[in-house]
């Protein structure tokens, strides 16, 4: 394995560069996935059948908390990557851990939110609108959940092996994924919650 030391660690081998390109392409596919969900959401937004509308069930407080948590976590993963680039393994692990904790907190609030929807009678089986709402939020939530476990695995690997081209590459790709989820959340926040509550 040829290591190119003029590059950042995560870009330092050919396979690393290929991995990062591959992940960008994967994110392209993810954008299409969420775009399809958003399009479907806009179609079903007003088709509430016998169920409640968005304005009736959305609650601003948990949504704001979720937004702050996820935005902050996106910032901290950025800091973690910065720390990684200046070879500060400890600081990196710290920020990485904070990111994961914030992610877990986000999920916690989202679970609370889902329980709230259940209590006000907005389930998958209520109407096409509630169905697409929960599917879209659920897909995002499942991504965060998946990212959480993935992040923990990477965290353990850095802890064990230190910063190698491989772990750096994984961390960087993880950060791309995490930023992507944050961007998707901004769309959800603007076009689902804000638009729905207006």
């Amino acid at each position: 394995m040829k290591i190119d030391s003029t590059q950042h660690l995560e870009y330092s081998t050919e396979q690393n560069r290929i991995n990062i390109l591959g992940f960008w392409i994967f994110l392209g596919a993810e954008i299409m996935l969420f775009a399809t969900l958003f399009t479907s959401y806009f179609v079903y937004e007003d088709r509430i059948g016998n169920g409640p509308s968005g304005a009736e069930i959305f609650e601003i407080t948990p949504v704001l908390i979720e937004t702050i948590l996820l935005l902050t976590s996106s910032f901290t993963i950025g800091l973690a990557i910065h720390a990684m680039r200046i070879q500060r393994t400890k600081a990196m692990l710290g920020f990485f851990a904070i990111t994961l904790v914030l992610g877990a907190a986000f999920l916690g609030v989202e679970i609370y939110e889902f329980i709230h929807y259940y209590h006000v009678g907005a389930t998958l089986q209520t109407s096409a609108f509630t169905g697409i709402l929960l599917t879209t939020l659920g897909t995002h939530g499942a991504h965060v959940m998946f990212g959480l476990f993935w992040g923990i695995f990477i965290f353990i690997q850095i802890k064990k092996q230190g910063l190698t081209p491989q772990t750096a590459n994984k961390s960087f790709i993880f950060s791309l994924y995490w930023h992507f989820l944050d961007v998707m959340w901004i769309f959800i926040f603007s076009f689902i919650y804000l638009k729905g509550m207006m």
Binding site: F42, V43, E45, D46, R47, I48
Partner: protein, 310 residues
């Protein structure tokens, strides 16, 4: 290569012989809408035949002229990059053809979507055609009658079908009178046609809808206005009224023969248009909203003019 041409000739001959006895339904129109589509089909067949012939001539030419057996053994084909002019031609001419057909397509599409040409001043006869597995229900609100699996229409009279379904998506199609249109459960589609020749025509559901699909047909009879009025009067004199109970039995999956009732099911089971439509919650699609407004206008118009007609 020769073999192939022989086969092609055989196929074409067989096809002509087999179908020679009777013209193909779609190309044998009996009303203005189907005439439009038939003309468009002929225009496109001729245009496209030119393209096919050009390609065939070029291909045969290349194959005969440049086959290896005709070239000297030491012949080395030249290296030829693309040429701006040649590529200009092979882009330009197709663009012209496509532009021509696009114009044909737009004009004819607007035509078949509107009241048939020559009937614009006439108040159309409105018939609700709704499908259930595997039947067609035809409701004549103005005449206050309903038929199952057969359709009587007056000739030289614009007919406006309002199509919807009691279940699966079906497609209402009378090839000799007009092209098809979907009938769906959550909205009403409109299909305009007029018959100019009295006669019996094949009508069917063209969109696959399960086990009974193949037999999901209906018979269309076009007749002069007087005979049509006579037929309506006869029904009022002889047929039973359609009750909600009977209608719900009719909706059960299965095949029924032809049936006739007075009254329509629209009174107790209205079509999904206007207030009953799936779209009234505010569909994001503006065009559909417009169609509905249009429908509503028609409704009020027909109510006003009903008395004048009688």
């Amino acid at each position: 290569m020769k073999l192939k041409w022989t086969f092609l000739t055989i196929i074409i001959t067989i096809a002509t012989v087999l179908t020679g006895c009777e013209p193909l339904l779609v190309l044998d129109p009996k009303g203005p809408q189907a005439a439009t589509t038939a003309n468009v089909i002929w225009i496109s067949i001729i245009t496209m035949a030119i393209v096919v012939v050009v390609v065939l001539v070029m291909l045969t030419n290349m194959l005969f002229k440049y086959r290896a057996s005709k070239q000297p053994d030491d012949y080395e084909p030249p290296h030829i990059e693309g040429n701006k002019y040649v590529e200009g031609i092979i882009v330009g001419i197709p663009i012209l053809i496509v532009a021509f057909l696009s114009v044909v397509s737009i004009i004819s599409t607007y035509q078949v979507e509107a009241t048939p040409e020559g009937y614009e001043d006439q108040e159309p006869l409105v018939i609700y055609a709704s499908s259930s597995n595997w039947k067609w229900h035809f409701s004549y609100p103005e005449q206050d009658i309903e038929t199952v699996n057969y359709l009587f229409i007056p000739t030289n009279q614009a007919v406006e079908f309002r199509l919807y379904s009691h279940g699966t998506i079906t497609s209402f199609w009378i090839p000799q009178l007009a092209g098809q249109k979907y009938a769906m459960a959550d909205m009403v589609n409109t299909l305009h046609l007029a018959a100019e020749v009295p006669g019996d025509y094949m009508g069917r559901n063209a969109n696959f809808n399960g086990e009974g699909f193949a037999e999901n047909t209906f018979n269309v009879t076009a007749m002069p206005q007087t005979e049509f009025d006579q037929w309506v009067d006869d029904i009022h004199a002889t047929a039973d009224p359609l009750t909600e109970e009977t209608f719900n039995e009719l909706l059960e999956p299965g095949h029924l023969g032809q049936m006739t009732f007075t009254g329509t099911h629209l009174e107790f089971a209205p079509a999904p248009e206007g207030e009953n439509g799936g779209h009234h919650h505010g569909s994001p699609d503006d065009s559909e909203e417009e169609t509905h407004d249009h429908d509503d206008e028609h409704d009020s118009d027909s109510e006003e003019t009903e008395h004048e007609n009688h």
